[in-house]
Each structure stands twice: as C-alpha cells, then as structure tokens.
Symmetry: C2
C-alpha cells in the first residue's frame, strides 16, 4: 500500500460517517486516494467529476457516490486535518484497512468495513477479532448479570481468546474487568475517538484495558461519541467470532449488536435470567425468536464459537426472517437506505430540526430531508415544532 | 360398549402395568373382553390359546401377547377384584376407554392409552386434556419457581383452560393452588390409586382439587404409587394440549414428562431462570436443545397452545434426534423394549434382587431377567450382591 493510499484511508475515516456504504463501495472500486481526489474534483465541478466516474466503477456505485458527494464535500476540511499526527501525539497507532495487523474478520462488513482503526494498546487485533468473543449487555446490569459477564469472560480468557466489548458501564465493564483479572487481552471498541475514555467513570478501567489489550475506534481522536456512532460502532463488536448477550432489556443497545452479528451470520449466545427480570427480557426474546442460543456457562460459549460455520448455514433462514418477524423491542424498523437508518437513529421523542438531524446523522440537508420524508410515510417519525421526532 | 367390555377394561387396568403396549395392542385388536378371556384360556393351555390368536390379530401383536402372557396370568386374581365397586365406595367414578367423558386426547398414546381412569371430582376430563395445559416441575422448587408456576397457572385458568399437574410438592402444588384460587378446574394425575392422596402433606390441597376439578389415576384404588407408575403417569400429563416445565434440575422427573410430550408432538414450553440456578438447568437444557420454547408469561403459553399443529410438524425432526443427542441429564438411555425401560426405572444405586425387579416392574421373572441382561450389556446396570443396580 502506498503512503498516499494510507493517508487517503485516514482522510476517509474522518470524512465519511462510519458505515457509509457509498464511501466504502467507492473506495473499494477505485482506491482511497483516487476516491478522495474525485471528491475534491467534484467540489470544483460535480458534473464533470460525475461523468468521469462512469466506466471506473459500477453504475450503482457511481450513482451512490454522486448522491453522497455533498455530504463528503462538506467534510473535506475535516478530512484534511492531521489525524495520524494527532493519534501519534496521544500514543495511538493508526492501522489502515488491509495494512499489517488489520483484523481480517472486519471484511465481512463489506462496504461498511472501516477505513482505519485508531488503536491504543498492543493487542493483536487480527487474533482478537478472528478468535475473540464479544460480551455485550445492559449498562444498568444487575449483580446477577455482572456475575455472569465476569464468569463467561474469565472462561473465554482462560481459553486463550480475547474478550471484546464496548467499554460501557454494567455488562461491558464486568467483562473487561474479568478478562483483565485473568491477565488476558481485552479490546474495548469505542464510539468516539480513543483520546476520550468514555464514559469518564470507566477511566481507570479503560486505562487498564489499554495496558493489557487495546482501545480501538474507527473515528479519529477528537471525534465525539454521538449516538449514531454507538450504533455503527456495534457492528465492529459484532464482527467478533461470536457475540454473547448478557442481560439486555427489550430496548437495550446490546440487541443492536446481536442484530448486527445475526446479519454477519456470526453465532450469538444469550444468557437467560429470571422470567420476572426486565433486564433479561431482551435475552429471552433473542432465544425465543431463534436468533440466539441459550448459554449458561463458558463451555456453551466455546461450543458456539466452534460451530460458527454450521451456524452461518443454519441461520441464513433466520436472518432472512429478521426483518419481518421478531417481538416488540427486538424487531427494529427495516430501513430502505443507510440515510433512513441514520436519520431514525438521531431522532427521539423530543423534536429536532432538520438541520440538526443532518448534522448529527452526517448527511447533506437534502438527504436528511428526503430520508425524513420516507420515514414519515412509514409512520416511524412525525413532524413536530418545525422539526422531527419519533412517532409514538 | 357392552357392560362386559367395560368390566373387562377395568380388569385390564388392574392386570396390565400402565403403558403395557402388548396389552394395549391386544385389546385394540380383539377387544378387552375377548383379550381377557384369552388370558384365562392361556392360563389353562398357552399353546392352544397362542395358536388361536394367529389370524385374529397381526403376528406382532400375537407374539407380544404370548410373550406377555405369564405376567398377565400372574395378575389374573388382581384383575378379578371388585375395582369398580371399590371406586364407588370411595366416591370415585370409573371412565373406561372410549366411554362418554373419556379424554379423546389420550388416544395419541396409541397402544399405551390407558384402559380406564378412576376419577374423583366432576371436571370435564375431555375438555381438560384437549384444551388444558400441563404445568410440571421440581418438587424442591425455589420461591421464584413457585411464583412462576402460580403466575402461569393463573393466566391459563383465566383463559378458561384447565391446569393439569401431578399433585406433588413444589411446582405441581403451586400450579394447582393458583388454579384453585382462580376457581378454575385443575386436574391432578396420580401415580397410585385415587384413594391415596399422595403425598400426604398435600392432603388438603388434593381435597380442594377434588372439589373443584378432579383427581385422576389409571390404576384402581388401593394401588400404591410405585416409582415406575410415576414415570408412566407422566405420559398422561404429557397428553395435555401443551406442557410447561417450570424449574427442573437436570435429573428432574419433569423432564420425563417433557420427553413424553415431545414424543406425542405436543408443544413444550420451559421457563428460564438464572444460569446459576441448578433448579433451572433442566429447563435451560430443554430450550437449548430445541425441545422446548422459552416462555416467560402466559401469552407465550397461549401462543404455544395455539401453535400445536404447526409445532407437531416442526418437531418431527427434533423428536427423531431425541434418542441420539441431548445433554447429560436430559439424554436418557434409549431402550430396546418397554421391559428394558421398566427394569431400568426400578433400579437405583442400591442393589435390588431380580424378584423385586420383576415385581416392581410388573414383569414376569424371565422377562425381567432378559431385560436386565440386555441393560447390563449396554452398561446401564450392573450385578451387585446377587441383584442389580444402576451402573455408575
């Protein structure tokens, strides 16, 4: 890989929102450096740049790139900032897509594969992703949930596998902490830049993770952990060799990780709990709907990891049904485009202006407006106070 | 049905051990009265009686009857006792197979369908079995398990369905009690005669069940609740429209009921609990192995009942695998014959003479010996102190 290609991947990691599939497809087609040049050209003359693209990639990729151009152009200045230097300054290394040390397991993300990872800590990321197990769950875990997360993480560590999680309170913290106690590498995948140890209350824990394992992010240092970045971050965790959900309420973010893992045909385990515990309702729904296998001990987890090929075959049917069926809370609207998903993710029960929607979702104003219109037709969001909010 | 046919069914209910499929097949082929006459004839001259059978039923049925004759003949005197009169004397009614009020759902038991039911209480048994739900589980339940049993039973009762169980301590008692509290019919299926309110500690509860629902047994009054009768009794409970397992350790008898229900292609639900609770380990194994659906609330149970046809189709494959796979504790040896199973069931870790084995299993001495030989070859039981005990 040329130095300019590496530099361009870094620029793309800052310019495109995580999981921007139009960007991923363009870079895969013509290379990061040429794609970046194309964005600059388009900023001077989009019609000429657009015309130049046909023939160099498929019609779909070209069309998506032209539509996405406005949102990339708006962030060209951000792309040009010295992200690698900043990373080095805080003791982080930058691993670009395909470079030595790049986790090959991330290629299952297809066009949503990150352009670069910013890493603090010396863990072998390729091994962590290809053999490691993600443990995810509620921030507001019960003592039982934390116990189970620690128990499973300890067994996974003893089996020589890395424990991946999101560095959050509750289940995430219990899993990281237990792996650290076993002196085993653990990887915390952050939604914001690796300069921000988020949440602040986990500062000491994340420092320790850094010393033994690694803290990883696909966005450059300085980037804030926006809500939409948490949801796209979850796909990185879900790319581990298996995902275990330990305690999740019906609307827990951990279920988004499980859905991503299902989409990647990775084996998913869920830990049962009392039927009376709302903290286990999401796990029960995953098991009941056939998305996750019930796991109660580390042997179950290791069996799951070993079954990953078989699982992928078995679960193709399940995954196809994921969009349609599923119980309230597990079912998530299926979106016509990444823009629709991004807009939906930044809306809440409080109204927000379309400008703010565009900004938070990392979309051009016109894309945000169009997406909002589609979501309104589907009854997912509604107009309120000159802006948008989630439909009741 | 003629009076003598009814009387003969009563005699068979006393003479043959529950689930004696050779008896069931013979009675189904030539009628209870003729089959009884045939046993008497065989007692005088087995070769002549045996010869007479060929042509009146299939070769298999005839051969099984000839092999079984000795064990039936030994119990002809028991068959001749006045069971109906004794039942009436204690306020019980006798419903013979196929008579008005007979639960048609029991016909799915095939050759193991009981010959008669002894009933105390006025519940509509046909409705109870065809629409009712069995709730079974550990005798040594936790407070959580009892709560869940009560919660589900109460919802089943509110849906106008009977709650069936086994009248034991723990989960059974919680289920019956909750149905009673809802003033809904509940049915306790006993392993011994209905004159014995077993266990004695549930005397008051079983009296109440009798007043609102019914206490039912397939063996005549006076018969003791032997261990093998508990296991055969479980198939009657499993013939309900669905079976829900609430808390069961890995070796719980409730798993035998679940296995019977699986064999009858009835929907099975299991309530999850903490992964750390041995009382929920059997439920988790049933869910994990795909034998049961995870249920946490009464809506899940009612959905399961409504799905019974679909379930039966879906589960044919699962049931075929039941013999081979399954985890330790859920997996049960597969037996070559009902005699093998009966012998295995009456053995334990303490040695027992072959005479006692034959008596408890309701088998002829030669059949018990032969079965024990087969079980020894399979490594399931072993010789000890001139008798047999379970292999370690």
């Amino acid at each position: 890989m040329t130095q300019s290609e590496e530099a361009a991947l870094v620029a793309w990691s800052a310019m495109a929102a995580p999981a921007d599939e139009a960007a991923g497809a363009l870079v895969a087609s013509i290379g990061a450096a040429e794609a970046l040049e194309w964005v600059r050209w388009g900023a001077r003359s989009l019609p000429a740049a657009a015309a130049s693209l046909y023939g160099r990639c498929t019609r779909e990729v070209a069309e998506a790139a032209v539509l996405a151009h406005e949102r990339w152009e708006r962030r060209l200045d951000v792309a040009d900032e010295p992200h690698s230097r900043r990373a080095t300054a805080i003791g982080a290394r930058v691993v670009t897509r395909g470079a030595p040390g790049w986790p090959s397991a991330l290629s299952s993300l297809g066009a949503a594969e990150p352009f670069a990872l910013y890493v603090r800590g010396s863990a072998d990321l390729d091994a962590a992703w290809s053999q490691g197990v993600a443990i995810v769950g509620a921030r507001s875990s019960t003592a039982y949930g934390s116990h189970m997360a620690a128990e499973l993480a300890s067994g996974i560590a003893a089996a020589g596998r890395a424990v991946l999680s999101g560095g959050a309170y509750g289940i995430d913290a219990a899993a990281h902490r237990s792996a650290l106690a076993a002196e085993a590498p653990t990887v915390a995948v952050m939604a914001g830049g690796v300069d921000r140890l988020y949440p602040a209350g986990n500062d000491a824990l994340l420092q320790a993770v850094m010393n033994v394992g690694a803290i990883v992010s696909e966005v450059p240092p300085g980037f804030a952990p926006h809500r939409s970045r948490f949801l796209t971050r979850n796909r990185l965790i879900a790319a581990a060799s298996a995902t275990i959900v330990v305690e999740a309420a019906l609307r827990s973010g951990a279920l988004s990780t499980a859905r991503h893992a299902a989409g990647l045909l990775r084996p998913i385990g869920a830990v049962p709990g009392p039927a009376t515990s709302p903290s286990s309702a999401g796990c029960h729904a995953l098991i009941r709907d056939g998305i996750a296998i019930l796991v109660t001990r580390v042997d179950d987890v290791l069996e799951l990891v070993d079954s990953s090929t078989e699982w992928a075959e078995r679960n193709v049917g399940e995954v196809e049904r994921l969009g349609e069926r599923g119980r309230e809370g597990v079912a998530r609207p299926s979106f016509d485009s990444p823009a629709d998903r991004a807009v939906y993710d930044v809306t809440s029960s409080r109204a927000i202006t379309v400008e703010r929607v565009a900004e938070r979702a990392g979309l051009a104003w016109i894309d945000a407006t169009t997406a909002a219109g589609r979501l309104e037709m589907q009854g997912l969001i509604e107009r309120s106070k000159g802006g948008w909010k989630r439909a009741r």
